[in-house]
Amino acid sequence: MSDKTLVHKKNNQLIAKLVSVVMLMFLFGYALVPLYDVFCDITGINGRRFVQSTPQISGLNESRLINLQFTTSVAPDMPWKFSPMTKTIEVHPGENKVVKFSATNISPNTVVGQAIPSVSPGIASLYLNKVECFCFNRQELKAGEQVEMGLSFFISSDIPEDINTLTLSYTLFNVTAVNQNKQPI
């Protein structure tokens, strides 16, 4: 009998351990979400790392020119026209630049949009510093309203030599339904 209770005790201890492994792994599944973000922030792999920076004053490197392309997409459910006013510019690393994007609400309703950036090659996003960007906030346009939205940025002077073309893409999403408060991305 004591043998049996001993086995029971051993079983229960083991079960407790195994169940906690299961719980931990479930949480780990969720932890993968922030882990992935952190990983992307460090490595830039999904072209999504963007923080607000202060303007660059030193480190201008005039010996290099980087070709920067801008492109936009509009989500299928988004009734705006949205396009870069400059499609390509050449910048020196360390040089502060401002480019403009134009957005028009072509629907008869007020619509809130959120622009989501993506950079290719992804690693280049680590060197693209945004001082001011319309993508930091949600944008609200009334029916027929048109605006020009600015992006002020510089490219870090330590950008690797092999990156000489860089594409910055914005996809504009319709967030009218979920627009509770304006969150920075």
Partner: protein
């Protein structure tokens, strides 16, 4: 028995050697695709060689060491030396394979210094191509007729691999593709270029190619993207540089013409008959995939238009949905894909077909956006 095995092996080899044209990877028309092909064949032969040795030994044992032959089983069952040998040898074979694979991969991922940039956007179920350096782009849709798919008409040679407007590229230029999607994940694949790149909504991916030979190359969407995943092919027409330039010039001037035409459409109306004919064309090519040619939709997935509130109700609401789409749904905003005239026609069609006899005739002018007024 040996003879059978050897004959079989020879058969396999020869069938593979002759299979090049139809049932092997295509050699392709870029330097990269040829490298990929050579790598593929190398690894394939390595696998065959390993297979012949291992299975050869196994079949030898199966033939010679049979109980029915009165063989007594040996007793050995361990040898650290042999275990080490057959751990180390495969390891070195793998290294030998990894070296050329790494070289090819590094080359494939070098997107720098492109001559031309094309933005490719996948959406359910078509491709949109934009020539980045020009203000010019177009949609590319399957052009195989529904009758061929439904087996009521004979199938053409390029069944399911033909589009209304192929992507046109020049030879000998480094073309960089920026790939993205509007709704779900798609994947842009042309085997002859060895380019396959997923199109992720909200993200941009890169790939590149430099094509050596003019011709027409065909591919398909390679990522399950919903109902008509099998019906969004890719066709690339590759031209010599001069012809490419001519093509591009003519396209750019026709874009200007189309804009003028649009202005004319605003001023001149369509008759009901014209609108219904044009509307039916547009409906079948774009709308019928979800709402079905009968207008009955797919219950639970895509709403019906026949006898629906939208098609029988307020015209303005109907126009709004077609032009601006419906948030968080598969209903796209067609305002930017279709001309005003086509929009007007398709809305007219939806309001009068399948017994939706509202009698409403919508004109280009009615569809014109509030922003332009």
């Amino acid at each position: 028995m040996y003879k059978i095995i050897i004959t079989f092996a020879l058969l396999v080899f020869s069938s593979i050697a002759t299979a090049q044209s139809d049932y092997n990877l295509p050699l392709g028309v870029t330097d990269i695709s040829q490298k990929v092909y050579n790598l593929h064949m190398t690894i394939f032969y390595v696998c065959i060689a390993i297979g012949l040795v291992v299975f050869g030994l196994m079949f030898f044992a199966m033939i010679k060491h049979r109980k029915s032959k009165g063989v007594k089983a040996a007793q050995f069952h361990e040898s650290t030396l042999i275990e080490i040998i057959w751990t180390v040898i495969p390891f070195f074979i793998l290294i030998a394979l990894a070296v050329p694979a790494t070289q090819t991969l590094i080359e494939m991922e070098d997107n720098s210094n492109a001559d031309i940039t094309i933005k490719i956007t996948g959406s359910q179920w078509k491709w949109h191509y934009e020539y980045f350096d020009h203000d010019f782009g177009f949609y590319s849709l399957l052009s195989t007729s529904p009758e061929q798919i439904a087996n009521t008409k004979e199938k053409g040679v390029n069944y399911l691999l033909e589009v209304d407007k192929p992507l046109v590229l020049p030879i000998n230029k480094k073309v960089r593709f920026l790939v993205t999607a509007d709704d779900v994940i798609h994947s842009w694949w042309v085997p002859a270029f060895a380019v396959k790149q997923d199109a992720n909504p909200g993200f941009i991916n890169e790939a590149w190619t430099r094509i050596n030979e003019p011709g027409v190359y065909r591919g398909q969407c390679a990522e399950l993207c919903g109902k008509d995943h099998g019906f969004m092919p890719i066709v690339v027409e590759v031209l010599p540089e001069k012809e490419y330039q001519q093509w591009l010039d003519s396209q750019l001037s026709s874009v200007l013409l189309a804009k003028e035409k649009e202005q004319q459409d605003l001023n001149s109306g369509m008759t009901m008959e014209e609108a219904m004919t044009l509307g039916e064309q547009v409906y079948l090519s774009l709308c019928a995939a979800c709402h079905m040619p009968s207008g009955e939709g797919i219950p639970g997935a895509f709403p019906a238009l026949k006898n629906s509130k939208i098609a029988l109700g307020d015209v303005k609401k109907h126009i709004d949905i077609v032009v601006n789409g419906v948030e968080k749904s598969a209903m796209q905003a067609y305002g930017q894909q279709l001309s005003l005239k086509k929009l007007a026609a398709v809305i007219t069609y939806e309001r009068n077909a399948w017994g939706n006899n509202t009698g409403d005739l919508v004109q280009a002018n009615d569809v014109q956006q509030p922003a332009n007024k």
